[in-house]
Each structure stands twice: as structure tokens, then as C-alpha cells.
Symmetry: D2
Subunit: 362 residues, 4 copies
């Protein structure tokens, strides 16, 4: 019942604080004989790492991942997993030395400062400590390993809303996602967002966002009824990312507004003799079990509470104060959540793939 692990047969445990010497994770349960080297992971780390555009925090972290265990070079010269736990580590390098005395005893509104103190009686206030978004770097690393377990599955995510501004879904083009600093699939929206987020950034404010993750070519049969529903585990995986406050599968909250006729996905036989669904309102999951259609999940990220405007708060000793968070910010922390969302979906699917194989064979 570890609070820092997720998954069952494919199980990830993360550790580390923003301002400690390093962060890391242990991936336990990865099958053996899978080719794996640091370069397989680094590409995903690079997508998430900070300081890549003016729209994300200016902290500079190379986020260079090291594999410390769980692999060996096989006779054919290829480094492969051995079935033992894979330990991954990233050194923290840009822990800017700073005077934290100002926030040490002040509860920043919207942050976990108050609740950490209330629960633990102590908190690492340096850079957010354990609640820093830095922890998500290791989710991305684990997700890169998870993808190796399901090589035929394509898992991609995109930013579909920034503050009140949604994309036009008619413009959706996966190829655009890498052409702008927002992972936005709509080139037009990306341009508008740039203008909008520049304003937000300059005013020292922040905004929320919505991310959509799509997994294609998922085998039929992953997930289980009741408490092992694939929707349940995806929902937990995405809700566990910092700042996430809502999750939807398929048409999600929209489903509440529809009739049974509109919502139920009809079926016909496909050209290959397999059943096909004519629509995908279910987001690829029926009764908790994948149906072969793309898995579609969306999650909402709240605006980061680190802003340059003073907000009312109190101190640990009960004084009323006004708090402003100086230093480096993410005007839209949702941007960097895009590769994190992909990673969490990858880990969930890898876990369910192994569970499915265990319980009902191949």
C-alpha cells in the first residue's frame, strides 16, 4: 500500500525531491529480453524537460537518465532487460541557491504547504520538495519502459485547451503537435495560444489546460470488470499527476447529456471479419475492458498557484499575511503534462497487459 508506487505486475516506485541530489524510480515487473538503453528513454525525457520555450519554467535541467540496474548486454551485443528491477536516476543540477526563509513558514495559497505541515509536521519547502512537478520526470522515464512492452500500441497526447481556449477539433493534425511549443494539434490554435500565453506570462499569472491522450492498436481484453476497470486505473493514473482535478474517458461528461441511442456505439462486421464499432463514444472501453478501438482519455490541469500577484494567506504560527511566489514559473504547467499523461497511460496499459496475460492467458 505504498503511496509512492503504482501498478501491480508492472510496478513503478518514484522517489526524490526537487532540491535533493537526485530523483529516481524503480520499475519492477518489466518482462525480460526487451532491448532497452538510455537513449530509448531520453527522447521522452527531453519532451518534458523544463526550459525549452518561454512558456515553461526557466529551470534548466538536462534530465539525463541513467539505468542503474535490470539490464545487461546479451551475446548479440544488445542491452536487454533481465526481468529484475530497473533503477533509473536523474541528477538534480539546477537547484538554484535561494533564500527560502520567506516561504518556509508561509502557506502559499493553492499549494500543498498547509496540508503537508498538517499531516507530517514537516515539509521540504525548497522548490516544492516532493510535491514539485520534478517527480513527473520519473513517470516519463517509466513510461518509456512501459511502451517497450506494447510496441504495437501508439500512445500520443496533445494539449486541447489552454485557459478558456479550446482547439478546433476539425483542425486536428498529429503532425502539428511537434511544430509548436504547446503540443497543440491545431496549428491555428497554437498561434493564438502563443499570443495569449505571452500575456499570461508577462502578467506573472498562470492558466489551466486540458490534455487528451489517445492510445491506438490496444489489444482487445485489457482491463477487468468492477474495481479493475481499465477506466478506473487510467483515471487513477492521470489523477495522480500533480494539479490534475478532472478525468474523462471517451466522451466523458458529455455522455451525461446524451440519450442511450446517441451514446451506445453500434457495431458491424469489418472487412477483416472482426467486429468494428461505428463510433467511439466509449473511448475504447466497454465494461472496463478494452474493445480494440482507440483509448481516449482527457484530464484537466489547474493553473499553477505560483503567481506574481499577492494572495491572502496565513503563516504556520497563525499570522495573516499576503503571499506572492517569486522565482521561476510555468505560466501553463499543463504543457509539460502532455508527455506525463502519455507516460501514465503507457504504464497503465503495460500493467493491464501483463495482468490480462496472467489471468486469462494469451
Amino acid at each position: 500500500m505504498s503511496h509512492n508506487s503504482f501498478g501491480h505486475l508492472f510496478r513503478v516506485t518514484t522517489w526524490g525531491e526537487s532540491h535533493g541530489p537526485a530523483i529516481g524510480c524503480v520499475v519492477d515487473g518489466c518482462p525480460p529480453l526487451i532491448p532497452l538503453s538510455e537513449v530509448d528513454i531520453q527522447g521522452f525525457m527531453d519532451k518534458r524537460k523544463p526550459g525549452q520555450s518561454r512558456f515553461t519554467t526557466q529551470r534548466r535541467e538536462p534530465d539525463e537518465v541513467k539505468i542503474l540496474s535490470g539490464v545487461m548486454v546479451d551475446e548479440d551485443g544488445v542491452q536487454k532487460t533481465t526481468g529484475t528491477p530497473i533503477s533509473l536516476m536523474v541528477q538534480n543540477t539546477d537547484q538554484r541557491s535561494k533564500d527560502y526563509s520567506e516561504i518556509k513558514d508561509r502557506y502559499r495559497p493553492g499549494h500543498a504547504d498547509y496540508t503537508y505541515i498538517a499531516k507530517y509536521g514537516i515539509r521540504d519547502y525548497r522548490g516544492g520538495g516532493r510535491s514539485s512537478a520534478r517527480e513527473t520526470a520519473m513517470r516519463v522515464a517509466a513510461g518509456a519502459v512501459a511502451r517497450k512492452i506494447l510496441p504495437q500500441v501508439t500512445i500520443r497526447a496533445a494539449l486541447v485547451q489552454v485557459g478558456p481556449h479550446k482547439i478546433n477539433r476539425a483542425n486536428w493534425n498529429w503532425a502539428e503537435v511537434d511544430n509548436n511549443p504547446f503540443f497543440c494539434p491545431d496549428a491555428e490554435a497554437a498561434e493564438q495560444w502563443a499570443t495569449y500565453l505571452d500575456e499570461v506570462r508577462k502578467s506573472g499569472s498562470s492558466v489551466g489546460a486540458v490534455i487528451e491522450v489517445v492510445a491506438e492498436n490496444v489489444p482487445v481484453g485489457l482491463g477487468a470488470p468492477i474495481y479493475g476497470k481499465l477506466d478506473t486505473d487510467l483515471s487513477a493514473a492521470l489523477m495522480s499527476i500533480n494539479a490534475v482535478k478532472g478525468v474523462e474517458i471517451g466522451n466523458g461528461f458529455e455522455a451525461a447529456t446524451l440519450s442511450g441511442e446517441e451514446n451506445a456505439d453500434e457495431m458491424r462486421m469489418g472487412d477483416d471479419g472482426e467486429p468494428v464499432f461505428l463510433t467511439n463514444n466509449s473511448g475504447g472501453i466497454l465494461g472496463g475492458i478494452s474493445n480494440g478501438d482507440p483509448i481516449v482519455a482527457r484530464f484537466a490541469v489547474k493553473p499553477t498557484s505560483s503567481i506574481l500577484t499577492e494572495r491572502k494567506s496565513v503563516t504556520r504560527t497563525g499570522e495573516e499575511v499576503d503571499v506572492m511566489t517569486k522565482g521561476r514559473h510555468d505560466p501553463c504547467v499543463g504543457i509539460r503534462a502532455v508527455p506525463v499523461g502519455e507516460a501514465m497511460v503507457a504504464c497503465t496499459l503495460a500493467d493491464h497487459f501483463l495482468r490480462h496475460r496472467g489471468q486469462v492467458g494469451d
Copy 2:
């Protein structure tokens, strides 16, 4: 990694199918010395049971719960928990004998028929088998036990949207919830819904709904950072209910549209010398840990796929057919999800209360 259990220190395992002899659950980890008898549970069962109005399925089940273990009458004549597992059982009585040959081999659109067969190669097609909403009766029973662990916490839920029709939040009155067959806190909306749902019912159609659960007087400190976030576990608990496709904590997806200034809940000192929050956008959870404010969670239930209109589908052997689901229906299955949502929140809070006590003492 049991697919039919949830919780850790307070752990519930449910079993049973719609058309088997009985359904039941085992509640493991309930602390000892808590007064508990069937009457404590039955009231909640009665709120969920079918056939109470024309707006829910006409199946008649008394849903009389029996306690089979885990309690004994103490010297003072009061029946109390002993710390051993509590087994609860409900006989199935109204398994209407029926010819299932029509749906046995047909995949009803929107149902789990196809995925169960694809995964397991067998499915209990009688009344939905394990995927029937009957399973949720045992969640309600377990939730009644969970409430006993946190007697000071008030957990209530209400239906806040039926199809496209939302309540007017200005009219919210908890007292109204028991005055209409919808658990609707807005008397005006309830009247409109009655008319609307009568139409839906008569046309053999169905609609979705949104339920809001509110837990008041939750102790500060429940939950944990990262994968044990209280939001994460609430989200998993609610998403595990059949037909749920979306979950929000606090302002949820709305948070994506706000600025950091608008969204972060400011703090001041209360009259009792404890910090108070001036707003509750966070839904009572900061950094995954309860902050003392009401916990607010919402979930979306899709329209049941059992409708009287023919929909395109296929059979197990690959023939294209049109399928219509005859028999008893819930025009809005979301209504009966209201007590189920309460129960899942109760179980989650009870579990986190025990986990919190274990890890950081009282």
C-alpha cells in the same frame, strides 16, 4: 491485485451476479468495538434498491442485508464489530425467469457483452451477470460500515444534472433531496425532470446524469502525495461504478479555464484560531491531502444502453443484426448511482483515515 476488491486497510471485496442465488461482500479491516447491526446498513440499501419509483427499473428486490460474520453482542448487549472480516449477503429474489436466447449470442451495443466474450470466452448473460448494477448494492452495504468509522463526517450526494438539464445551484437545498425520486437538491429542477424523464421512459430511451458527492467535517491530513492522493483514490472509487465515464474533484474541468489568481483558495485565520479557506475550488484537497474543507466530487454516468430502439450490432458468430433490449429498464440509471457514489466516498475516506493513522499516528 484482486479485481474485485478495493481499499487497503479498509478493504471491500464484492461477489455475485445478477441472476445467481445471492450477492455479497466481505469488509476486511474494520476496527473493532464499533456498534453495527443490520439496521444500520438497511437504510442505505433501501435508498438504492430498485423499483421505488417509475423512474428506475421495475425489478423488485427487497435487498435485505444479512451480517454473517465479524460481529458479536458485547456484555452490554450491543452488537459490535470484533476486528474480524464482516461478511454481508443479500439474496437475489426477483430473477425473473425469461428467455435469454435472444441476447445470448448478440452483443448489445454499449454493453460489455463483446468485451467479456473477447476476454473470458464466456459470459453470464442473464440480467447482465457480473456487470449488472446489482453489484453496487454491496458497495452501499460496505459504505454503511465505512460511515461508522468516521461518525463525525457527513457524506451526502445529489443528482445535479439529468441529460442536458442541470440544477440551478442557487436553489440547492439538501432537505429537498429526500422529497423527490431523483435525489435532486433543487425542487424546481426536480419537477422539470419528472416531466422530462416520463417522456424518456415512455419512449423506451434513456439519459445520462451527473452526481455530486459532498463530505463535510473530514479531518485534515487524509490522503498522501503522489500515487496515494486522495483525489486519485476518490477518482478510482467513483470511476469503478458501472457506466461512469468522468470524475471531477472541486471545480474539476472548470479549473482549466481559470487563472492562478482565480483558482487558488486564499486563507485567513478563523475565529477558532485555525486557518480557514475563503473559497473551495480545490474540493477540500491540496497536494492530495484533505485540508478540512468539504470534499466535493462529481461523476458522470452514461445513459444505460438498454433501450427499446433497435441498434446495429453483430452476433458472436459474426452475423450483422439489429438489437433491442426488452425487459425492465432504468431510464436514468444515474438516479440509483447517488447512494452508490456516497458509499464509494465513505469507503475511500475510511480507508485513508486508517492509513493516515497508521503512518503518522493520531
Copy 3:
């Protein structure tokens, strides 16, 4: 972290007290499409049930098992598992009405009376409550299901020591096990034990015993290194049986006395082109993983503490008293532990078979 469950992918949760209305278990994770009916289970229940000879307790329980969920009759008329949880129940019938006032507040030496009260502040003193050996009936039921998952594996157990009297291993004959009331594989020893145990019984005393479980045709590869060692899980499974105080795998404690040369099992190629082991000191497990040789485990059962001789004790309120346990006794509770040991090994192997299949495929 349920205290009343064991296993992971094949997970068993038991419930019930000696003097409640019933006892039962939920078997979660059984693969689908396995033929299963009550008769498959009842035979094993009958081996364990009390009152079958003068050497076990005279409580009369038919121990008739009912399957309440998780199966359905398939088109070919055979009842099969569906992959959903299997609920098994046995009614308690012979809860002899009795005056418990004498032991209610007295701690019987060697029993869990004192520790239950110290931990829980309450205990069901009627017939041992949850700590009664009746709980093991449901382990046997679950074990019968587990055997179905590994039909090629033969799991048998025998009593190899009663008090100080060991069998002569040269006389080992599995066929003898069913020819005497002790599950003794040595006909000569069985005769001596009968005389010896008659004396023990008549004097109102009790003795301990050692049971050996052997599993043949176990696939190579079950288990895992480190904390998932097959030895670890077998050891936990057997140690969880009431009154068990020691467990050995292979030559066990004997291994401590040997040299590396003597202990390491040498290998040669078998006629079928597969490696064979020339000895089996390891008990069929190397590095935590099954090696294809018979799995051999032994466990020691202490003498039941229910005896007719007065022993020094204290009451709940701190008075010093002498306690004698009247009523029905097992002079050698180890006898009935034989089928229980088999069941625990069956459950452990079934779980590891599914885990192995999940993690490294077939």
C-alpha cells in the same frame, strides 16, 4: 493489505467464526472456462471435516460447500468458471449450545485469548471465534479450486511425525495415506500412532505433529527472485495455518548441517533431452524459482492448547486462576492439517502460475 486474504492474481479471502451462522471465502482471479461444481470441492472438504475418527474433535459438521457465484452452465451443459469471483459458503450446524461464562474472561494458556483482547478489546470466545480451526475449511475449499488451474500437478500431503514419533521414510507408500485415520504413509507407524494417540486422548492431553506436502509435475519457472521466492510464499502460506510454528523447504534445517558438496543437487541430461537433478535437497526450488523437481515442504503444528489438565492463567480483570478446557478436542490437531497444507500449497502454486504467465508469458 487485507489480513484475511492471501495470494495476488489468485486471491482468496476467508471470513467467518466458529459459532456464527456460516463461514465462507471469495476466490478472486480464477481463470474462466474451468469446469467447476460443488462435487469437485466436496471431496477435499470431507478429508478435513471433523468427527471422522476418534482421533479428531467430535464436533459434527457436514461441511457442505455451496458455490454462490462465479460459475455458469455453458452451452454444453457443463458448469464452468466465468472469471468473476467465486463465493463459497458452508453453514455452521453443530454449534453446540454451551455455557461460555467460564472461559469468557479467562485466558486459556496457549490460546489467542489474551492477545485478541489486548489488540481488539473484544473477542468472540465461542468455540475459538475467528481463531478456530474451522477457518481452515475454507482454505481447503479454495485449494480445490486452485488445483483446477494446474490439473497436471499432483499435490499430496502426509503426516510424518506425531509427537516424538516419526515415520520410517523407507516405508513411505502414498497408497497407505488413505488407509489410516492419520494420513500416515507408513503402515507400521500408523499402528503405533493409534495406540499412542489413544493414550493421549484418554488422558485429555494433546500432541504436536509434522506434515509433509509434495507437489509433483510443477512447471519450471514458477516463483521469482528476492521477495517473491516460491519458498517465501509457500512458507507464508503454511505458517498462516493456525498452530503452525515451523516451515521447511527441501531438506530445510538439515541443510544447515551439510557441506556445499553434499547439499548442491547435481545435474545431468535426461533421456528426454532436458536437464535432470540427481538429488532434490532443494525441494524443487532454486533461487526462489521452481526447477521441475517435486516441491517438498514440511510444517510443524504445535499441540492444541485445549487440554483437560489445569494450567495456570489469569483473568481479564487480573485474577490468577487455573484453567482447564472442557468440551470437544482434537488430541492431535495436526491430523486435520494435512488437507489444509495441501490446499495452501495448491493456492500458492496457482497464484505463482498466473503471476509467471503474466510476467514472462507462457
Copy 4:
């Protein structure tokens, strides 16, 4: 269901191979505000580290432990736990470069070579890889953290048998344990063992051993009935150590030979008004729950299979060969298992302490 983790509320995950860059562990669930620095851990590491006498392997590892997360220096200048996961790491330094071609494809008798290949299709043959005793270094590190949770409990272990040579229990003196290279509590036996083990060492052979762990001042009430028995979890913890093949609690297998009168520990009232046990056959555990008496556990370690005598074996490709393991050896690997046994008991008790506190309060 991670194979590389143990514990629930106090949960340890280890990683690393003998010849990788490092080994480490993550301790998740340690309560906050506990003073903890590397020096608290290093003393225990030093007891276990190799190369300290001629009786253990000559590999030279400083085993210097680093804390990478989960602590911070509090306002009073003391480094304390924060409640977040504690990552501990030890660099591997003495991975002697060596030609492994000889054993790469040969299955060393008694080792896990064959089963690793059979299960995973790949194994890290360098220095034993994951199955090396090096993994136990991290158990010792985790155990040092666990001890901090129960500071009043004294956990000590001693070697009580080497090969066929047992100590004389009348000579037991804890003070002697640190006076000889065997952790032997009997000064006379230690002298004899020195002579005996010199012979074993010189002949390139090895012997097994038995270790006894004693935990004093354990609170009453740790553990739970049935599958959470303290005996069960201790047994699993000890059996998970490499080369362990047997575990006993209290008088263990000896209990099988006793009568109920002899075995049940009688009770009287102590001078402090609390019940006391007149004997401790139970090893401090009744019905799976600690009774306040010293917890006593013993485990048997088989002789290491790395010996200088040729033994019959086969290669991966099916050739029959004779195998001898050259290089550094532990003539009695049981010696270094003494601090490991202590650590496993410490972790188990810490976990059960937190579980107990969670389920029944303080």
C-alpha cells in the same frame, strides 16, 4: 505484487545486481520527524559487509550508504525524515574484472543459474547478478530505518549452529556476539568454530548455519489473525533471504514433539499488575499477535554452492560438464546472514506496528 518489495505500510523495494554500478532501495512509508542520517545506517552496514575476517568472502566493498531523498535538516539542525520515500544507494566498487565465459553457459549446481534461464531466458551471470548476497546489503540499510520506528525494541541475532556444531545454550552471552567473527553468543563454541571453519575454508568447501533472532520489548498487539499472523510475515521475511530453507518461531519444530501441557505457556500476574508468561515456547506470538514476550525466530541457511570441488552439471546447450566455482567465497554464508536476519525482523515489526496503529488506533 511487486517481486522486489516487501511490507505494506512500511514498504521496502530493493534493486541492483552484484556487478552493476550500484545497488539501492526505496523505503516508502517511514513516518515523518524521525532523526535519520547516514551514520545511523552505516553501523549496521559495516556488520554485514564482506571481507571482515577470513571466514567471509574476500570481496572488498566499503558499502558506504548514501541517503538520496526523504530527509531534510529541520530548524533545530537535525536531519529528519519527512514522510516521503527514502532512497538509499551503495556504489559497487570491487566488481573484480574477470573472465566469466566459463560459467556463462554452465549451470552451477545449487545456484539459480538453471532456473533463471528457464524462467527469463537471460541472466546476469556476473557475480551472481540479482541473486547475489549483495542484495541483502540494502535489507540491512532498510532495517536500520525500521529500527528507528520502534526505538524501544531491541533486535539482536546470533549464529547458533555452524554445520553440525551447535552452541551450548547455557553459555549464551549477548556480549560475546561482538567478540568473535561469527556473531556467536557462546565463547567456547566460537573457538571450536574457528578451527572447524578454517578447515572448511582451506578445503574450498562450505557449510550451512542456523541464526536466531530475538526482539525484546515488542509491544503487545502487533500482528493479526489468519493471513496477517506475525509468524507468517516473519517467516516470509526470513525465508526471502537467499539460501534460507527453514524458519521456526518460538520452539518451532520442537513443538511437534511436546504435549499440550508442556507447550502452552502458563500465565501469572506480574509485579506491575500486567499478565506475565512463565515460559516462552510461543516465541512471543499467540494467535498471530505479539504477546509482549521476546519474539524468537530461527532460520536455516544452506551452505553456499560456490565450492572448489567439481560437481556434475550441464550447459545451456545440453552438454554434460563438471563445474567448479573459482574466485572469492563465503565458507559459511550464514555468518553474514546474522545482521540480515535482524534487519528483516526489524522491517516486519515496523510494518506491523504501523498496520496495528492504523487498524486499531494507538
